[in-house]
Amino acid sequence: MSTIDYAEKIPNNVNLSEDRKLQRALETWQPHYLDWWRDMGPNGTPNYDVYLRTAISTEPDGWAQFGHVKMPDYRWGIFLAPPVADRKISFGAHKGESVWQEVPGEYRSSLRRLITIQGDTEPASVEQQRLLGATCPSLYDLRNIFQVNVEEGRHLWAMVYLLHAYFGRDGREEAEELLARRSGDADKPRILGAFNEATPDWLSFFMFTFITDRDGKYQLAALAESGFDPLSRTCRFMLTEEAHHLFVGESGVGRIIERACQVMKESKTEDLRKFGVIDLPTIQKYLNFHFSVTSDLYGAEVSTNAAGAFHAGLKGRFEETKIGDDHQLEDTPYGVTHYVDGNFKPIEVPALNALNERLRQDWIVDVAKGVDRWNKVIQRFGINFELKLPHVAFHRAIGHFSDIHVTPTGKVISAAEWNQNKDSWLPSDEDRAYVISLMGAAVTEPGKFANWIAPPARGINSQPVDFEYVRFA
């Protein structure tokens, strides 16, 4: 069992103590990280005792140890999934060769770029969510957001470890930059657009973790296929943590829907705003917004960058090894939806150039399944309403749909028509103001929940729902 040595300054299962130079580099970075956490982590929380899950090893019984912890004392460590013996590169030009334990010189800058982009998203979401604790709907939810935050922090550590261990001085500089950029900052924004959007309320937070963290899952899954073995092992372990974030989002929105349905049944009306709960059409608008903004994260539908990374064996497809093709795609076509002559239709392009789109499609299937489960909640109440994912071309800012205006059902319209109707498809200023108005003072009595959200079906780690998930000093 690869146990992490907690006596060391930075818990790890990578034999850090045997590499003095690397250890010193990370020990220099660590106080900068803690400074960043103090400035940009959850606001005003250093004395809270939070019932958190901490990884103490990468074995099944070791990576979920629960206990009350103060967040600045959380042991952010470096954990790689156990190596797979004799692992071979499973795709691209190097298919069948042994995986790399060091960075191949010709792919150095591409790999560094991939790792930096992934790493940049992790602190960004912590920054986006730092004020939400003040309006938490329950101790249970407060604990969940903090769990998400500390694990995003750990994911940053995971990427910084790779930068420090394998990319020398360039890597160390990138690692410092990861702490210097700020979500939404005009001068030094985070790299990707969705990570500069505000997360002003809990509905946005839950939508973000459900939809945008799911992009994270697919990106990590694609990097877990990498021929660069340390990256693969890092991402495999991160994926196991990412599942909790998706759960927080899916169950959070699900509980808001459940509450809306309860009040609809009790009050026999669809006009829920006077009851202080969030109505289903507003939830649909938030879904439209987060889905379209996150779609952009996958990049252009047809991309030679993605082709290069695949060809080089740096980033694979989702569940690459389970796909039944030649895993090289040199002569394979793939249908990508285009808007031609007034119609959306698939046009075959070389599959290598369509990898972004393919990953986006895999993600859409996964998002759709979660939306189906939300619809089951609505069906259980016997309410005739269905949440739907918008058309893939709706409200896009990146890729070949960015220059047309499209309704959620996929009808192409003029700019004037878009401007006239966009408030019925996306959250309007009024909608956002209403949702924010519900975010009142934090609900901190164990077992109590804000009016606009239902309690969860189960507590964390089999604890009761009214467990004291957060204690205040």
């Binding site: 990576w63 899916e250 169950s251 089951k376 189960r458």
Partner: protein, 401 residues
């Protein structure tokens, strides 16, 4: 018909993250477009998948008379209803050695009384010495302070796939391995269950016992070490233990919400009352009936469950603690605390919904009865009559050892 506990995944809660399938060391978990499912013919209940599951959906265990097939599990929107325990279990006669122990425990106040009218029906001796259940130790924690003289342990036993139905106030029998100095198997040791009927943790097939290590010098100065208590206190997580029972068909809690429950105990005598209190907290925290606890120990550090007890809200339970060996403070016993609460106790004694339970060391019942008698005299009540009525109606229960 034999019931077995089957590991399943709750489709309402599962988010299809694939973590369990990835984690399972024996590849017992698979999925289709709809559900994640567990193959009962492969799953060995190792629980490696349980901590990593982000939702708790994986931690679902249902009794059934035959395993649910993968096809059935794939078709579910919800988990099916659980087979009733009664369908598979039968009580046996109380073994003579257990009867002897209970007779001694109830002797000083005149033997067993009927159970409260609203008590649930108990199972007794489902597992006998001849066919005991095997439990796995899920945890063993010392409850008393490191420097405290007494060494009291909280031991959680998990029964895995075997049903083991208990009620609060019942005991289980543990058979220490090996033989005595005459070469015979050891006698059964009885330990009160310290958890409520739905488990130390809800949805888990487990229970807790509270055990004090017996290690004392007798009059001749010879060290006496209790075989049963030392065996249980030394158990390690993962150890297998043979368990019989459950036992006890009268020292049970009333279930109706109006019931007032007066609980008087010392040391590990608190175990059944922890079960009573937790049952009330989980099922009827706003019940009209009062919970009143008188609990004695030598020092706070020797009072089992002191910390968690003090965190319970006063609206749930009225806690009165008596310490007999705190340096610089007068000795206090539970009967002293009871006398301080004479008005409240007298009021409760007048109510037909009041139940009194005494559990702890032999000898404590004398002081407690004297206190009750004094309180009655002070408030113009007749203790002898009340006591007889309480006993007749199953409202006065004593177990001391």
């Amino acid at each position: 018909m034999e019931l077995k506990r089957q590991h399943l995944i709750d489709p309402v809660i599962c988010i299809r993250c694939n973590t369990c399938e990835e984690t399972c060391p024996v590849n017992a978990i698979t999925h289709d477009d709809r559900n994640y499912v567990v193959d009962a013919s492969i799953c060995n209940n190792c629980r490696a998948c349980v901590p990593p599951c982000p939702t708790g959906a994986i931690d679902s265990w249902l009794m059934s008379s035959r395993p649910w097939t993968l096809e059935e599990q794939f078709s579910w929107d919800d988990l099916p209803p659980e087979a009733k325990l009664e369908e598979g279990l039968e009580s046996g006669p109380e073994p003579a050695e257990v009867t002897a122990i209970i007779d001694v425990a109830t002797a000083s106040t005149g033997g067993r009384v009927p159970p409260p009218f609203s008590a649930a029906h108990p199972y007794v001796n489902v597992y006998s010495r001849e066919s005991p259940a095997t439990a796995r130790v899920a945890g063993n924690f010392r409850l008393t302070d490191p420097d405290a003289e007494s060494d009291i342990h909280h031991v959680v036993l998990d029964f895995g796939i075997r049903p083991f139905p208990v009620l609060e106030g019942q005991s289980i029998g543990i058979i220490p391995p090996g033989v005595d100095d005459k070469g015979r198997p050891h006698n059964i040791r009885l330990y009160s269950v310290a958890s409520p009927r739905d488990g130390e943790r809800p949805h888990h097939n487990n229970l807790a016992v509270t055990v004090k290590r017996v290690r004392a010098k007798d009059d001749s100065g010879k060290l006496i070490e209790g075989i049963g208590s030392n065996y249980v206190c030394d158990l390690k997580k993962g150890d297998q233990v043979l368990v019989t029972g459950p036992f006890g068909d009268t020292f049970l809690m009333p279930n109706h919400p109006e019931a007032n429950i007066v609980m008087i105990c010392t040391g590990t005598g608190a175990a059944p009352f922890r079960g009573f209190t937790e049952r009330r907290r989980r099922k009827a925290p706003d019940a009209a009936g009062k919970l009143l606890l008188f609990f004695g120990a030598r020092t706070p550090g020797e009072l089992p469950y002191c910390g968690p007890l003090m965190k319970l809200p006063p609206s749930l339970i009225d806690v009165n603690l008596a310490y007999s060996r705190v340096p610089g403070e007068p000795k206090q016993y539970v009967q002293d605390k009871m006398r301080e609460r004479d008005t409240d106790l007298a009021a409760l004694l007048k109510s037909e919904h009041s139940y009194i339970y005494i559990c702890g060391l032999k000898g404590m019942e004398q002081g407690v009865e004297e206190a009750l008698s004094d309180i009655c005299r002070l408030h113009d009540l007749n203790w002898t009559e009340i006591r007889a009525q309480l006993r007749r109606e199953g409202r006065y229960h004593v177990e001391t050892y």
